[in-house]
């Protein structure tokens, strides 16, 4: 039945916009819900305006087992029957669509704004707010528990550390958390709209600052999309360099996260060594492109900085040295039962919940799912050089820390191998114009998890729609779920074990 309702596509392969089947809303709902029930995931789900009254909803379903993506569309005007009651993964996507385009998902169980801004279609507002009405962030309903012993803890948007803003509400009884609800949107900068309507020369910089700690991840996802649309072939050397940069980004952030976890359980040796080591990985990124976060490195067509023999040997030497210190610093914590004891059985999410929420990245792999874009939907160098997927099955803070530890080791081996065998010399091909009326889904395993960009061009070959899904978008609800029945005081380690992006979510 549903075979006809979607087309199967591959990661980073362009296809004509016309080939996306447009089905009626009932078939759309049924297809998406059935496919997700079969163990597939909702990678992206978004709206785009067709004309003054209609909005086209498009769903991208990831079939991890077969390594392909299914895509289908439907047209709606003001409202439709919500998917969320039958498919939890649609929750935030539907709220996003409602907020951006004023489309109401009827029967959505927890229908409230996501980023707190005005609708992009002036005449349509899902909450019937006026055009002049001020919209204040986190001014909305929160789930509340009542009772004599129940109290509410509200935190943020300005937090006690040097971190991004978000608002957290805990419903507690004594120290025990019944429920955590997270309100975001404080970081909303309007990136998706600016990509379509703003200055084209700024787009690579939007990608680099979309989530600054994932500069390489989002830039490569964008580059892959634009290369597919313009039919640009990227040289092998550029692909290798992208892989090296992406794995360095992963190592830097994972090391930093393990250090932050150690800090939160007051295991100071690992905390302080990892803090320094994170900087060493960032400095290796800077050795390649001059910037610690990989700014100005990746552009559609290839990369901007090359490696010569002397830099390759310098990098290899530095990597060996820093990695040896990393193993030592992290190993110290694995050897300390008092530190590990705080992580074990803390912040557990069941496999079923993880599956229902469609978690990605480290959070999913820590629940035993072999889910990794580098393995399931490989692009670039990952088609040729595979990194074994690191998993652990205890679903707790320890698992999320341990998977990070394993990934650091595997990324290191990958980088060493690439530095030894790097060939070719060309690193940049000037991309041509994008083909008109084409679309592409570009996915990549960033250090947090699956990054998914959807791009489509109009009749003039210019971008007509661009949708970004940062891995954090899938995983924020995972953090909320992990706090059920935990102590309030365990929030810092649960939070750091996910370490999600606020700006990547808020865009």
């Amino acid at each position: 039945m549903s075979e006809k309702n979607y087309i199967s596509i591959h990661n980073s392969e362009a296809f004509p916009v016309k080939s996306i089947p447009i089905v009626d809303i009932d078939d759309f709902r049924e297809t998406v819900i059935t496919e997700i029930e079969r163990g597939k995931r909702l990678a992206s789900f978004f709206g785009r305006p067709l004309n003054e009254s209609a909005v086209c909803l498009t769903a991208v379903i990831a079939d991890d087992k077969r390594g392909c993506l299914q895509i289908l569309s439907t047209e709606v005007e003001k409202s439709y029957q919500s998917l969320t009651p039958d498919c939890s993964q649609a929750n935030c996507f539907e709220r996003e669509i409602a907020e951006q385009w004023g489309i109401v998902p009827l029967g959505h169980p927890w229908f409230k704004p996501l980023r707190f801004h005005h609708s992009y279609r002036k005449e349509y507002d899902a909450w019937e707010r006026g055009l002049d009405e001020e919209i204040l962030p986190a001014h909305t309903d929160f789930y509340q528990v009542s009772g004599d012993e129940v109290h509410e803890v509200a935190v943020g948007p300005v937090h006690a550390g040097v971190i991004e803003p978000g608002h957290f509400r805990f419903q507690c009884s004594g120290e025990r958390v019944f429920h955590l609800e997270i309100a975001l949107g404080f970081q909303h900068r309007g990136i998706e709209r600016a990509i379509i309507s703003g200055d084209k020369s700024k787009i690579p910089h939007y990608m680099e600052t979309l989530a600054g700690d994932t500069t390489i991840g989002h830039s490569v996802a964008y580059a892959q999309a634009m290369e597919a649309l313009s039919g640009c072939l990227v040289s092998g050397r550029a692909q290798i360099l992208r892989g090296i940069m992406l794995e360095l980004e992963r190592m830097a952030n994972h090391v930093g996260d393990i250090g932050a976890l150690a800090n939160d359980v007051a295991f100071l040796p690992t905390a302080s060594y990892c803090g320094r080591l994170r900087g060493d990985y960032l400095n290796m990124t800077a050795m390649i492109c001059g910037n610690r976060f990989g700014r100005n490195m990746v552009r559609p067509g290839g990369v901007m900085y090359n490696l010569d023999a002397s830099l390759i040997s310098q990098l290899s030497r530095k990597l060996e040295e820093v990695f040896s210190d990393t193993e030592n610093a992290i190993g110290l914590m694995w050897d300390s039962p008092s530190a590990i004891g705080r992580f074990e059985d803390t912040g557990k999410i069941s496999r079923e919940i993880a599956e229902e929420l469609g978690l990605v990245g480290v959070a999913a792999r820590a629940c035993g799912f072999e889910r990794d874009v580098r393995f399931d939907f490989p692009t670039g160098i990952y088609c040729f050089s595979q990194i074994p997927v690191a998993t652990f099955s205890t679903c707790d803070v320890f698992a999320r820390a341990y998977v990070r530890g394993l990934e650091i080791q595997r990324s290191k081996s990958f980088i060493c191998e690439q530095l030894e065998t790097i060939t070719g010399d060309d690193i940049f091909t000037v991309p041509g114009d994008s083909a008109p009326d084409m679309a592409v889904v570009s996915m990549l395993e960033g250090w947090r998890g699956e990054i998914c960009h959807f791009a489509m061009t109009g009749a003039d070959g210019n971008l007509l729609h661009y949708k970004v899904v940062d891995p954090s978008f899938h995983n924020w609800n995972g953090l909320a779920a992990s706090m059920r029945n935990e102590e309030v005081s365990n929030f810092p380690i649960c939070n750091k074990s996910f370490n999600l992006s606020y700006c990547g979510h808020d865009l």
């Binding site: 300005v158 050795m287 976060f293 700014r295 290839g302 830099l311 000037v430 700006c503």
Partner: protein
């Protein structure tokens, strides 16, 4: 315990000697731009056209560049003839007044120390509350790194505190999104007088790449007064620390004129060729 001690021996002493010694920077580090003595060729406006941030303007004979907007992509310098505009490896860029970030010559008027009264209060102990107001987490990360043992911020008497009530000032990152405007104002009001505000990064100074977005404001100064501007996208940790120390009067006008002598970044391998290709493609589009 023995393992902890052995690890301590292996990891060694890693706190950098900054500011006594200059920071170790990548050979490809893009620091402060330098506008040299030669005049621009007549009618040339390549750099102005290439800049995605519109931070360069051409006057009659020369250009000026606003490093409060600049994201240090370096496109302008690669399109320029030798000697007119290049990026140095100088990491020092912090200033006290917004207009001093608009450079039309080789020298940056680096931040002056606080006045006598303020210096007496904050010169040896500065407690800051960080507010991220739309920052992408890169500025935040490079502020945070100052707390690690590699930089050991505490040795200068600077500390990030958990509450504005404990703070002498705010260190703000990000363009100040509409959704953070109220929170920033309230945090500012919660800091006791006299107080300082430090804007870190292109976004916080001018809105950066988000300048003109209806979802964001054009930097911190549009909301609250700013005492120190630290440019970069993101600024290198040494740029941030240098600015803080200058404000506290802990670094005296050392080698300000040295900026004159800084060398342009040497092109590495075919990097220059690649850049030129890209620039050509941009011009074409």
């Amino acid at each position: 315990m023995i393992k902890v001690l052995m690890a301590r021996a292996k990891q060694g002493y890693r706190t950098s000697a900054f500011p006594v010694e200059p920071p170790a920077l990548s050979d490809r580090f893009v620091g402060a731009p330098v506008i040299g003595r030669p005049k621009c060729p007549p009618k040339c406006s390549k750099c102005v056209e290439l800049c995605p941030m519109q931070c360069i303007s051409r006057n009659t004979e020369k250009i000026s560049i606003d490093i409060g907007k600049c994201i240090f992509c370096g496109k302008c310098a690669e399109s320029c003839s030798p000697g007119i505009l290049h990026f140095s490896k100088d990491y020092r860029m912090a200033v006290r007044k917004r207009e001093e970030l608009v450079l039309s010559g080789p020298v940056i008027n680096l931040a002056e120390e606080l006045n006598k009264e303020m210096k007496k209060l904050f010169g040896r102990s500065l407690k800051l509350r960080q507010v991220c107001a739309g920052g992408c987490n890169a500025c935040e990360a490079d502020v945070n790194v100052l707390n690690t043992l590699a930089w050991d911020l505490g040795r200068f008497g600077i500390q990030f505190v958990a509450s504005p009530r404990h703070a002498d000032g705010l260190l703000v990152t990000g363009p100040v999104t509409e959704n953070m405007k109220l929170a920033l104002k309230k945090t500012y009001e919660a800091v006791a007088n006299p107080k300082l505000v430090i804007a870190v990064g292109a976004c916080a100074i001018s809105g950066g790449i988000y300048e003109g977005h209806s979802e964001a404001n054009n930097g911190v100064q549009s909301i609250i007064p700013v005492d120190l501007f630290i440019p970069g996208c993101p600024p290198h940790p040494s740029t941030i620390l240098d600015g803080l120390l200058r404000l506290m009067g802990r670094l005296k006008g050392d080698a300000r004129e040295k900026i004159n002598d800084s060398q342009p970044i040497p092109p590495v391998g075919d990097q220059l060729e690649t850049r030129k290709k890209l620039i050509r493609s941009v011009i074409r589009s």
